[in-house]
């Protein structure tokens, strides 16, 4: 009797640990069969799956997955909330999620696992190394380990090239990155891709003393006197560059005086995927056009 109750307790504990231990590594299935019906509920995961050549295996994506174009034609399974029924109806054998979704959708994840679907939660990435790790994890999950390594290697090689060229930079330029203008001027501080990109190309992020995503007052930015301004919301606001150039208070900022205000596609500088390289290259060309042609 006593033994039986201890056993039950152990069982309960085991189940609990299973439920709560949604970390990427232990969710990768032991089976070596590569999945045939993949659902990706996060934009960067979707991009990685395509880059690994497994795009044809995707059967559904999130509302926010907008790249590559092929992904936009797949069934949309939700954004902030996810459509569990529709997901299960698609009979996936692998569901890719992001760390930020692990908590908010923990009930759904339990349900998915009950039906025997392999669920892989990819860690949040704030650096290139994190991104390489994510690619590796997804590579393992979709059965494209080798392809993943070659994608990572080519990304690393390109980063290396850029780092080499950055040695030609004599005087580092100060760069202000503007992500959003509503509710203060939002920018990217330390521990963001953009900060790492800027330091790789040999530039100084004027907001590097702040951590993560922060909003600064306009007067602070004017005081920082950046030499180059990078805007990431050009896809949304067609007049973005013009608006910055005509800001009255900014007329004495070198970047505005010399009209060095440029657009960079947001998705290439925030999504931890293969397109980060496009982002770095675009940033490099904007900040040091004479070095990175």
């Amino acid at each position: 009797m006593k033994r039986k109750s201890i056993l039950t307790i152990i069982q309960v504990l085991l189940v609990l640990t299973l439920v709560f231990s949604i970390s990427p590594m232990n969710l990768v299935s032991a089976s070596n069969q590569s999945p045939e019906r993949i659902i990706s509920l996060f934009p960067s995961n979707t991009e990685i799956v395509y880059a690994l050549g497994k795009g044809s295996k995707l059967v559904g994506v999130s509302d926010y997955c907008n790249y590559p174009i092929a992904a936009t034609k797949l069934p949309k399974l939700g954004g902030i909330t996810i459509n569990t029924e529709k997901i299960l109806a698609l009979k996936p054998d692998l569901i890719l999620l992001h760390q930020s979704q692990a908590k908010s959708h923990s009930d759904a994840i339990t349900l998915f696992k009950k039906t025997g679907v392999n669920v892989v939660v990819v860690n949040d990435a704030t650096s290139f190394n994190d991104a390489y790790n994510d690619i590796r994890i997804i590579g393992r999950a979709v059965g494209a380990t080798k392809k993943a390594e070659s994608v990572i290697a080519s990304m690393k090689a390109k980063m290396q090239q850029i780092a080499e060229k950055s040695k030609q930079v004599k005087v580092k330029r100060k760069v202000w990155v503007e992500v959003d203008t509503w509710g203060g001027l939002w920018t990217t501080g330390r521990q963001t891709f953009m900060n790492e990109m800027l330091s790789t190309i040999g530039a100084i992020n004027v907001a590097k003393s702040y951590k993560g995503w922060v909003s600064l007052t306009e007067e602070k930015v004017v005081e920082l006197r950046p030499q180059v301004v990078i805007l990431t919301y050009g896809d949304y606001d067609k007049d973005a560059v013009k608006n910055v150039l005509t800001r009255k208070a900014w007329q004495n900022i070198p970047a505005v005086k010399e009209k060095k205000v440029y657009l960079v596609t947001n998705d290439t500088v925030v999504r931890p995927g293969p397109r980060l390289i496009d982002g770095v290259e675009a940033l490099a060309r904007a900040v040091y056009p004479e070095i990175y042609k």
């Binding site: 922060v214 909003s215 007067e219």
Partner: protein, 365 residues
Amino acid sequence: MGLKHLREPSIQKFTSKKTFKISIIYLIAIGSVIFAGLFGLFVSSVSIPIQTIVSIITHKMFNIASLSDFTLTEQLIIWEIRLPRVIIGLLVGASLSLAGATLQGLLRNPLAEPYTIGISAGSSLGAVIVIYFKLSLFGLGIMTTLPFVSIIGALVALISVLLITRLSYTRLANETIILAGIILSSFINAIITLLISLSSKEEMSMILYWMMGNLGMKTWVHVWLMLPFFVVGSLILLLKTKELNALSLGENAASHIGVNVKKEKILLLLAATLLTGSAVSISGAIGFVGLVIPHLVRIVIGANHKNLLPLSMLIGGAFLAFADSIARTVIEPRELPIGVITALIGAPVFSWLLVRHRTGKRGLK
């Protein structure tokens, strides 16, 4: 903010004493506007010596003092960022508070405020539509198109409320106006929520930030945009304090003393809409000021709109400008949403005043 006067039991019997008290309160209110204005100019995320600030402003305004001593950056920060922001803070606070005081008296309801009768919801919907559909009228860009559409939204909301009220009941009864306002607000809020849920992540964050209210990125253009509405709206209200007093006693009483109830009501509502619509269109939906400042002033000065309206304006303006200074300095150079500050400072102060007032009264009896 006239706190001291509250402690003194108001047992002045002589009118001369009363006028004295009132003029002191006016002085304090004007003083707090000046204090809030200067505080907003002097204290901010970039520190610039007070002397420099004063010289720059006197030069720009009266062309005195020489500017060669100061860097262009300092001049731009003071003249193009800080001063317009402080002025917008004063105008928005004054508008919301004045509109709130009017609506509370007019509708004879202590919970009435610019947000209850749907004006602010209409204004918000206008703004959200601009953000969602990326409207840019006459090549003005999203940022400048927004206030225009937003004010139109406020007016459309008022007309709808009056129409609903009118159709249901010919008399424009207060309760019906409030009910219609609440119905309209929830309808509009549903549309806003619908647009938010249909929008992309970027648009969503813009809309949410806009709705939280913010005085950042304001320029002289916004000041000039808002000023005509402010002047017209507040002039109408300040000239109509007698009618408002009569209406706040009840409609029968008002019509007995010869007030054209329906006409005055519509005029007062329209003026309150101009004020609220222009304020919300510039700064987003900032809560608390329109509801609570009029009550606070009423506790101190009484319900006579002759004093209540101008004092609400002054105190509301000072309060919002001060709250904005806090919002941009407390974790400088980062910014907090101003609505957070108005409620965080406002609610405890108001509760304290309320308690003091009530216990004071009981003590007297």
